[in-house]
């Protein structure tokens, strides 16, 4: 039978099938963090069950960490307790933790790939919906709830019915200034926020083939925003080159053997998908969102649609926007470049390349939060830190930060924030905050101009709406 990339990885991880029910799926790597693991550890302790395979778990602190003065004790008692709990649990159960102050600490979906923990053909889970990020390596990776975190602790397995399969093809050449973030925002705007529910997606076509690993991670990261548990891209030479030489990647002969296997993971010619969509790269423009879910996106020079629908109107009311309104040129006081979607070195290179020699607008608070300690180091080593600081941007320490505003990095109520993160939900970046999702390039241009702005104006005016 012809198999898809997803079939190949899934089928090779099935331990057993329950009659008329789910399958037992073996999990190669389990990533954990401070927010969704404590109740799972407690569950095991209550039942007096040991962690089955502690060596296959990697822990870090990211969701609830401050991005200032990470060397000092955390002021907020609840946050401090949550991090202490993670440290205690990891020590007690023999789990490797890259906590605050460790050179490998970072957002779980940034640090695991850069350490080579993430490898093609694996199954990976984490109590975080953006675990879909790791699908960029041709890995089945998806977010789970805390009950499932406990199940994986107890058995290194999950009970799951095999999801359906969809393929999204994008072919052609992307226009200047169109980034991976725009590609995925465009796809979600076209397909809607629940188009992927019940499915695992595969992204195929030359647009993804020509993308860097960082770009692929941005795309796969947002699969969950269209409801898909995960999204995958077939591993290729770009993938192998990225993995090679990383801390936990296989070496020498072992690596070559792995590559030979990874090469077999491509979807077979003629394999069947439950649904398939095809888009033309030429149609994609830089995107911004105007509403309170990631599917509410338009081209940067577009106008907000005019729909008569209660949920739609509630959303516009929250955002303070009118039907038919244009977003280009709207004053913005906050810009955030960070999150598991766009906080890798490539994102900061793109932003710095635009910002270099310019100044942020006086009205803008521009926050730059690297995805990991390693990215932070690269920012410094490559001289980007100077570029950001000379332009008046604030550079912080790694963590999830203003993407979900669990720490002090909050956007004030009523304020707009052009953000490179993944969710524009009500209150996501702070109570009453209004999020506009965009690429690092749009975010950088907005910070410099003080209004929602496109980086290459000539190209933008030529865009058909």
């Amino acid at each position: 039978m012809k198999k898809t990339l997803f079939d190949k990885v899934w089928d090779s991880h099935v331990v057993d099938s329950v009659e008329n029910g789910p399958q037992i799926l073996y999990i190669d790597k389990h990533l954990i963090h401070e927010v969704t693991s404590p109740q799972a550890f407690a569950e095991l302790e209550q039942r007096n069950i040991p962690v089955f395979r502690p060596d296959q778990i990697v822990a870090t602190a990211d969701h609830n960490v401050p991005t200032l003065n990470q060397h000092l004790p955390i002021k907020d008692a609840l946050s401090r307790n949550q991090l202490e709990q993670l440290t205690k649990n990891c020590e007690k159960h023999g789990v490797t933790l890259y906590g605050l102050g460790h050179k490998y600490q970072g957002i779980v979906h940034v640090m695991a790939p850069e350490l080579g923990v993430t490898q093609p053909g694996m199954t990976m889970v984490c109590g975080d919906s953006h675990t879909s990020t790791h699908g960029a390596f041709g890995t089945i990776a998806f977010g789970i709830g805390t009950s499932q975190v406990a199940q994986v602790f107890a058995s290194q397995c999950l009970l799951m019915a095999k999801p359906k399969k969809m393929r999204i093809n994008v072919n052609g050449k992307l226009k200047k200034g169109v980034l991976p973030k725009d590609v995925i925002l465009y796809i979600i705007a076209k397909l809607g926020t629940n188009s992927g529910t019940g499915y695992f997606a595969e992204y195929a076509g030359d647009v993804f083939e020509n993308m860097s690993m960082e770009g692929r991670m941005t795309v796969c990261n947002m699969s969950i925003e269209m409801g898909a548990r995960g999204g995958m891209i077939a591993p290729d030479e770009t993938t192998f080159a990225y993995v090679k030489g990383r801390e936990f990647a296989p070496r020498g002969e072992a690596f070559d053997k792995k590559v030979a296997y990874w090469k077999t993971l491509k979807t077979d010619e003629g394999a069947v998908f439950d649904k398939e969509y095809t888009f033309d790269a030429e149609d994609i423009a830089p995107m911004v969102t105007y509403g309170t879910n990631p599917g509410m996106g338009i081209k940067i020079n577009g106008h907000i649609p005019e729909l008569d629908d209660i949920s739609f109107e509630k959303s516009l009311e929250y955002m303070g926007f009118q039907k038919g309104e244009a977003l280009l040129g709207k004053p913005i006081n906050y810009v955030f470049i960070g999150s598991c979607t766009n906080s890798r070195i490539e994102d900061f290179r793109i932003a710095a390349n635009y910002i270099k020699g310019k100044q942020k607008a006086a009205n803008v608070n521009a926050l730059i939060v690297p995805g990991s300690q390693q990215v932070a180091k690269q920012i410094e080593d490559e001289g980007l830190k100077r570029v950001f600081e000379e332009a008046g941007f604030v550079l912080r320490q790694p963590g999830c930060s203003a993407c979900l505003a669990m720490n002090d990095d909050k956007i004030p109520a009523g304020e707009y924030c052009v953000s490179t993160s993944n969710r524009n939900f009500e209150g996501r970046q702070g109570q009453g905050a209004r999020t506009i999702l965009a690429s690092p390039l749009i975010a950088a241009a907005t910070a410099v101009k003080g209004v929602i702005a496109a980086p290459y104006e000539e190209e933008m005016t030529a865009l058909a709406e």
Partner: protein, 194 residues
Amino acid sequence: MEKFITHTSKAIPLPIENIDTDQIIPARFLKATNKAGFGKNLFRDWRYKKDDSVNESFALNDPRFSGTILIAGNNFGCGSSREHAAWALADYGLKVIVSSYFADIFKGNALNNGLLPVQVSPEYLKELLSAVQSDPDTEIVVNLEEQYIAVKGSDKKESFEIDPYKKLCLINGYDDIDFLISKKDKIEEFELRS
């Protein structure tokens, strides 16, 4: 886990689409390290105004509506995987969520906490909403064993799907950990051969 067989209650209508788990329980309440007490912050920023006063216009605060069944718009529970959302709904006292669509992770989390997600057609969802909105004393019957939902007193029953394994778990109060641990031998065998 508490067993679930049938449930009859009045219902609370919340006809908003794409209710994400950040609305169900905002991130600032995720700092707890246990599962208890999330119900008081369920829908926090919709239930309360910025000055912490009660938002009278929100369905959960509307004195006309009560009960342990929530009827919500399409694509309920999208977004973050936080199981705190299911804990908050259950802790508030809800037993059943009815929608025309549920996000995958939320659905699994709900089932793992004895909270039943009942998926109905968009047409039936409208019928249920208008029945409850026009008469808040309307009772809804949810029968898991026979897999149907109905307005009490009406002959019309709408059937719903549920994974047979999950149904068995809910009816008997089993959970997945016990089941997986019973499969340890097979799991170890798998590890040896792969």
